[in-house]
Subunit: 335 residues, 4 copies
């Protein structure tokens, strides 16, 4: 479910960047301190850059504006180009990170939830990932003799969104979880990023639970390890930037660029420095009115991109959950 | 979920026809008796012929091979032709029959389930009906001021099939029902008919509950008024005939036709009379092997037909459930 | 084919507005003159506002930046809301304007071209309109006895785009036109607007020919009454605004708003007044780099909107081309 | 375009089988002769069985009921199972056979035509293959520096069917060929088989030209090397069996089976032997009336099967036409 609230980002890595640009963090940096409650780890390479943001305390939570937990980001600039080698590296890296964060015992049952609206192209990522998953729980139950060694029970649903079902998505998921009692829950969702460069090139894996839905002002139901007593991992890929954020950021870049060209003591420079950036954001929102919150910015080729990225994410899941399987085996299990 | 078992029909009206052709029923007829435990009512007109089969006792159940309850059939030969006038008559008739069988109080919440596999064209009827439904429960909850007078809370899900989700469909439905506690449950499903003439021209409404799924030999979960304590109505439209049934029926017609042409005392006539029709059916199944049970016969234009019939069935539901609404209002509520 | 060039608009009505805001036009207005070579007519009502821009001379052509000819715009703010009454008014108005501009004799053959890429949601308008058209040429040729009175021969193709076919779209259209020799050519296409308010609410009908394709820097093939010797009418609906245009316009509004709040003689006011708006646009394009030209802004619900608007435009065409037909008859002709 | 005429098969290999079962051919065989004008070559292995039927004279043409020319059949029982190894072997074998039959010079331009109706699942094979093709003609024309060594100019269209366009498909293809003047024409189409076992497991490559369309009794336009002066290759995969054929064949099997069980001199045996099999076929057609010619038999999973087989056929084409390319490169060229 794409959240288009103001200046919002679903990505912990972006939230961290925003914090590191704040005067508070800059002050800390000057004093040689790192922000308390936030640990950053880097891994991967140029093709697949891995950043692990661990928020370890309430202070870290307050700084970054995201709940305590672990957020792993895979940045893959070529993810939208359908390069087979890069896809394979991404799938391998994603499978490894996912296994590390899930720590499932062999034979555990995983329920995968494809969040989002299949009728809205950039929101359809979750359902599309689910349609490329190796769903095996029923095979292990009814025809175990036809299932390869090393295949674990995976089941999956795409519950739709409130506007389609009339039911809070969290209610549907909770109903199914209560009956099925899986060992782990994984939710896939399309996200909103601040930066256009992250759209369709970034995969975030987080173990902080999910709160599907939102929208009409309803209180959302949190599904997390705390409330469910099982690992709850959210996997997201940004597919849009909201129009007000893009406009605002572009405007900041323009103002910065104009300031750089002006002598530092000119009236012009000072004027620009004085522009109240919060006020500006409000003005942009008004200018985009009555569409604000509904307007999205997206690459023109978003239909194709979603379908490619969904396959990569699905295969990352397939390789993580079925440890005896190679990519070549997947085809025989996909309907 | 299309059931392709031998000689099976999902339609009570066809099961009744088969029974009426049995020697038992013919004997009863000779004696001027009607079969006990079965009451037939006819209504409607040439465009929309309505037959109500009421199975009222265990004896009736045994004769017809369908559980006790009420089965209403709308036969609309022009249903697949997209004739606007006939569509409207069908919608009105269906809405009336459905209201009579549901007997809901105003303001009751209905949960509609679109059964079947959206990836298999003739099995996609249920999900397609759901996508044309006026889903309103969330609107009445969050923005009642934007909802017309006479709109009742309706919610809907298409839970998929076992092969897609790895979960018994009944488990998903039960999980959602347990959390939501609606006042009535309506399930829409594609059916298999015996007769090609009934494909895409017949709507069956039954109050005997549903047992979604089947397939790999699993015991199916019954969802009925008895098990759930609320009205459970199944609405079905036949979209296929299984290939073995069609072949068998065609062969019977050929044999009958050959017999009619032969002198009644000829060896040829007697030979044909002696063909064991059960053995013949087994032979046909072998001949169609290894495909039997998976081969379907369907009109070439099934994709279009499903999409038209789905709209009619959805509007029948819309008119039945939202009594203050006309067909012209529906558009504003469909996403 | 959505054109996302700088500050571009496909709508003559927007090009006219831009011109009327130019210093040249303001000067003319002061002198009580109207711009030469441009005639504006208004019609319609609040639901469906009709504006006819007639560019009648080279001078008008130069002012507006659009070729000489007639451009009719239907502005229907509720077009995206699926209001049945407004839809019907739009269809009637569109049919009337189209008939007036086409001036076809009875029995004339029309070839309708659905331009655009069916894989890119906001570019799929043309192909979607074609799929809702009453295509009748073959019926009149082979089974005229099954065709209603007042149905004219209509045929239609969706030729795809260069990236899908590897062929200039104009070449495909020209090849078909040369063999078929229809009496009129109508092309349907998704457009880019400057203003988000016009997206999915505006229908433009123009008789100035089409030049399908564009893109990779190729010279486009003009198809017009001049080159083909038959009426060539283009029907377009804006479905996107390009991101740079939106950002630029939003920024202008912000600057205007800041200026309004500043005292007219303050340094701040003067600084803002001095911002070079052309330079600003270049800076925005850089800021959106490397995506510029590919980023689109679109309502989140664009998939649904396109499918609704396509039906209205198709029915406008159906009512214009088949004069003996009512909306209730269309269903029987659509596959 | 699926042809469902009586007892028809699009496959030369089936037509040859039928002929070999005729009394004429059996007589020739007894005399130790092979049928004149027909040469059969076998190749391949158990996974991918290759049969080349060469019809070399008018006599062969009359025997088999197919025009003179070369028909290559790949039989791949596992083609519908999505086994990656078998898929790769099929792609390689298809590419090799296709190159041998096309004999194109390097740099030749190929136009691929995806025949069939994209709205009818089993008829959508051609358009689906086209959507998985490496279309490159425009890239070589406009951005040759971004194209790999060994990529040849390929362009492709899916012209639709008469019922969608109102235009004979042959007219559209001819119009495009006349403007484009490619060096070779390849048409992809869904076929009807006699035997259910061949559905979705067989690929036929023939160099005898195509006659797209048919249907409403129209004379079809032949597109062949003779009429166009360039190689014209048709690639087809059977996706359906028509219901009358299936019923008839099943009935023959039943009769044969009953005969085998009867003593050879019994009246029963003789009666069955006397059944006029032509009369029987007519009776079946009557029994299936009014649907005959429109009823198809198809595996329930046809939607998935079509989409898998399309990818294999498309990659066979990609490997045949772009000789410097491996399967791993294809992704970067597909939209």
């Amino acid at each position: 479910m794409i959240n288009l609230s103001n200046r919002y980002t679903d990505l912990a890595i972006e939230a961290h960047e925003i914090f590191m640009n704040s005067s508070e963090a800059k002050q800390q940096a000057k004093e040689g301190k790192t922000p308390p409650g936030v640990v950053i780890e880097n891994a991967g390479d140029e093709d697949v850059k891995i950043t692990r943001v661990h928020i370890t305390s309430r202070t870290g939570e307050a700084s970054i504006g995201k709940p305590m937990g672990n957020y792993i980001t895979l940045e893959v600039p070529e993810l939208k180009d359908n390069n087979e080698d890069v896809n394979k590296k991404t799938i391998d890296a994603m499978a490894k990170e996912l296994r590390d964060i899930l720590k499932l015992k062999e034979g555990s049952t995983t329920l995968v939830i494809g969040l989002g609206n299949w009728n809205v192209t950039p929101d359809a990522l979750g359902p599309k990932v689910v349609s490329n998953l190796m769903v095996t729980r029923h095979l292990l139950q009814y025809v175990p003799e036809h299932v390869d060694e090393g295949v674990s029970p995976v089941c999956a649903i795409s519950p739709g969104v409130l506007g389609i079902t009339g039911i809070e998505t969290g209610e549907i998921v909770k109903g199914v979880v209560d009956r099925l009692k899986p060992d782990a829950l994984i939710a896939i969702d399309a996200l909103a990023a601040r930066s256009m460069e992250r759209v369709s090139t970034t995969i975030q894996i987080a173990d902080t639970g999910i709160a599907p839905g939102g929208g009409v002002g309803n209180k959302r139901m949190e599904l997390s390890e705390k409330t469910l007593g099982m690992p709850v991992v959210a996997i997201g890929v940004p597919t849009v930037v909201d129009a007000a954020t893009l406009t605002n950021d572009a405007m900041d870049l323009v103002i910065d660029s104009l300031m750089n060209e002006s002598p530092k003591d000119s009236g012009f420079y000072n004027t620009l420095k004085d522009i109240d950036r919060d006020q500006k954001y409000e003005l942009i929102k008004e200018a985009l009115n009555p569409f604000v919150g509904h307007l999205i910015v997206t690459p023109k080729e978003i239909d194709d991109i979603i379908s490619r990225v969904s396959k990569v994410v699905a295969n990352g899941l397939n390789m993580a959950l079925h440890q005896g399987i190679t990519l070549g085996d997947v085809g025989r299990y996909i309907n």
